[in-house]
């Protein structure tokens, strides 16, 4: 701990943060998991999905963009906060077309895993928007099923900031805003299977698909068969 380090609490546990760190970054280092969907290691913070909402001194903030401040009391795991998060996740299911049993991302999908973590078990209350978008399989190595896209923008940032391309972008406004490729279809972009944007880790759901992989990983050996989402971060603390 250096002189400039600051301390604050998350659910009563004292945490140290380096100057400039967000609440989430400090929490990660301390082995406390704050749920998230649009934020991803190595990518610019966006603060879009609000699944990382915490209460800082009673005020709702996005933990992925809010800088840690000395002395603040952060509430992360409580019924009220988790209910807000669950509502947000539930709405994402309603905006897209998610049929987990037939989705190859099932078991590796962060949206599904978040629903499990947040115990999204009650019958849903929102109307399904049931989009019906054609699969874009024009590219030889990658397919896009945007029925499952949650508009997190991770692919946009990965393509622009890491790959130096611009394969993806937002189109439309308000409720109609969604992610699309900058071209007629994926084959008409400079997308490449080696792009970071196309890697397994960037898309949190089953939207950006590597062709010919499918269900090759058996049930039981998929990412979230190993533990609830956040298990790696929480493991640091226990370990």
């Amino acid at each position: 701990m250096s002189d400039q380090d600051i301390t604050f609490t998350i659910d009563g546990v004292e945490i140290t943060a380096k100057p400039g760190q967000t609440i989430m970054e400090a929490a990660d280092e301390a082995g406390i998991y704050i749920p998230r969907l649009c934020d991803h290691e190595g990518l610019r913070h966006q603060g879009g999905c609000r699944v990382c909402t915490v209460k800082a001194n009673g005020r709702s903030v996005a933990a992925c963009t809010q800088p840690a401040a000395a002395g603040i009391a952060v509430e992360n795991e409580n019924t009220h906060v988790n209910k807000m998060r669950r509502d947000l996740v539930e709405m994402l299911f309603h905006e897209g077309n998610h049929l987990c049993p037939i989705c190859e991302a099932s078991g590796n999908c962060e949206l599904q895993a978040m629903a499990y973590r947040l115990e999204m078990v009650d019958p849903t209350r929102f109307p399904y928007l049931e989009p019906c978008r054609a699969v874009d399989a024009s590219h030889p190595d990658i397919a896009l099923d945007t029925n499952r896209c949650i508009s997190c923008g991770r692919c946009i940032r990965a393509s622009k900031d890491v790959d130096g391309k611009g394969v993806f972008g937002y189109v439309g406004r308000g409720i109609h805003r969604r992610v699309a490729v900058n071209g007629e279809d994926l084959a008409h972009t400079d997308a490449d299977a080696a792009d970071h944007a196309m890697s397994d880790e960037v898309c949190p759901v089953g939207c950006i698909i590597r062709k010919r992989v499918g269900f090759v990983t058996p049930i039981g050996e998929r990412e979230f068969d190993k533990g609830l989402i956040g298990y790696e971060i929480e493991g640091k603390r226990r370990g």
Binding site: E104, A143, T217, I219
Partner: protein, 480 residues
């Protein structure tokens, strides 16, 4: 004199579609015509278009809540072809076979104990309250216990090979995504002897019923027909997972044999009739009138030259002896045939469990992409055809499925009419026992609709009588 009237029997279904029976009586209360209407979930062949080829074996399991594994495997076999794989690594082929034998076993056991046993033990005319599995268990608790455990064994085999008891992901184009760990194998080996003993007991029960009630069996929905299934390449043995098509006529003579199933459409035409959503396939060379055929366990017993496992083969010989080797026509003998197949599956499972290939690690083969593929399997209810075309982007452009219930469509209609003529004609009143007879005739074919509605006991039936002008004059319901 009574007016002509229309009798409707509607099984109210939950999952597999919707079916009803209409019986048209003439002015003398004789059966004029009887039809089985099934509203199938036909949207599927459209829904699958545009999906990616490797998703298909998983997606198709949504087709049927009762035998998803059969669809999973038939689609995977079609996708093997499309991915240019003509021969799977031995571990993959054997894991898939294991999955399939587990599935056929659990499906047949479910059918036998839950759907057939009440009828066989209590008779078709027994009151509705009596004809269900709970009554069977009450009268014969040991039978009930075995039914549960045998079904569980089959389901655990499915789980070990597909990852889940329903909607697993095991079969992938060109192979399988897992092998069988030694510990799992050893757990199965502990109970396999019980399974064999119980399967033989159940077989004895089914055979005993058929032999002791020859009068009922021979006279109930028994009529000559053609039969079709796949049989093993070369020797024509029973093979539930793979082989070539064989069709026999009512005398047992060959109509076609060892036909590669990718050429099924050369021999089978799918007819459409205005009053039904379901197609009526027939054998092209014989024409629509004479070309209808039956598939299923009894059809397989008729088409198979022999069975390559000793206990089932003995049982097969006994069944064949009843008709002196000629095709067996009695629909009720499907129960006997199912139990022969359960014995066969248990024998096959035992054989596979002792095969070290199941612990192999070469799981998936690759090849050069093709545009079209057909996959055929013998599902518990009979022959199942999956046919796809896929474009250069790996998206499905065409899908044609012929499920067992469709193959049997004409036969089921004939069975319903046969029963209706014998049991309903000349009567003024429709009794519950008569309704049961119609239901049992349909159920002997094990169509998905009856199975789905009957899984927990009683098939809810509704009967409605209409006069010549279409006005409802009477109705009778059998509660679920």
């Amino acid at each position: 004199m009574a007016e002509p009237r229309l009798i409707e029997i509607s099984p109210v279904t939950r999952v597999e579609g919707h079916g009803k029976v209409t019986i048209h009586l003439d002015r003398d209360n004789n059966v004029d015509e009887a039809r089985l209407h099934i509203v199938e979930f036909r949207g599927f062949e459209r829904f699958i278009r545009g999906r990616l080829l490797w998703e298909v074996p998983v997606i198709v399991q949504r087709l049927c809540g009762i035998c998803p594994v059969s669809h999973h495997l038939a689609a995977a076999k079609a996708m093997d072809v499309i991915c240019g794989v003509d021969e799977l690594p031995p571990t993959a082929e054997k894991m898939r076979r294991l999955m399939h034998y587990g599935q056929v076993m659990q499906s047949h056991v479910l059918h036998f104990f839950h759907l057939s046993a009440p009828d066989l033990l209590f008779g078709f005319g027994a009151p509705a309250e009596k004809r269900n599995i709970f009554e069977v268990i009450k009268e014969n608790p040991e039978l009930g216990r075995r039914a549960v455990l045998m079904r569980k064994f089959g389901q655990e085999i499915i789980e070990a090979t597909a990852g889940k008891k329903i909607h697993g992901t095991g079969a992938i184009p060109g192979g399988i995504n897992r092998n069988l760990p030694i510990e799992t194998r050893d757990a199965f080996l502990k109970t396999i002897a019980d399974m064999e003993e119980w399967a033989l007991d159940a077989l004895a029960l089914a055979r005993g019923y058929s032999l002791d009630h020859a009068d009922i069996v021979d006279n109930f929905a028994s009529f000559p027909s053609n039969f079709m299934s796949i049989v093993r390449e070369g020797d024509g043995a029973l093979d539930l997972y793979h082989g070539n098509l064989r069709a026999l006529d009512p005398q047992g003579d060959v109509i076609f044999d060892q036909l590669e199933y990718s050429r099924y459409h050369e021999k089978i035409v799918e007819d459409v009739r205005s009053w039904s959503y379901m197609k009526f396939p027939f054998i092209r060379d014989l024409g629509a009138e004479k070309g209808w055929y039956r598939v299923g366990p009894l059809a397989r017993m008729n088409t198979a030259s022999f069975i390559d496992t000793p206990l089932a083969n003995e049982a097969h010989k006994e069944l064949k002896a009843v008709t002196g080797g000629a095709p067996n026509n009695a629909a009720l003998n499907n129960h006997w045939a199912r139990m022969i197949e359960v014995v066969h599956c248990v024998e096959k499972i035992r054989e596979l469990l002792h095969d070290p290939d199941l612990q192999g690690t070469d799981l998936q083969a690759k090849g050069d992409r093709r545009e079209e593929g057909v996959g055929v399997i013998e599902a518990p209810r009979g022959n199942l055809i999956h046919h796809y075309q896929v474009d250069e982007n790996d998206q499905v452009t065409y899908c044609n499925l012929i499920v067992s219930t469709t193959h049997n469509n004409d036969a089921m209609n004939k069975a319903v009419k046969d029963v209706a003529v014998k049991h309903l004609s000349g009567h003024e009143q429709i009794t519950e026992g008569m309704l049961n007879h119609v239901e049992v005739a349909i159920r002997a074919y094990d169509p998905c609709l009856s199975c789905a509605t009957h899984a927990l006991g009683q098939m809810p039936l509704q009967i409605e009588l209409f006069d010549a002008d279409g006005a409802l004059v009477d109705s009778r319901a059998q509660a679920a």
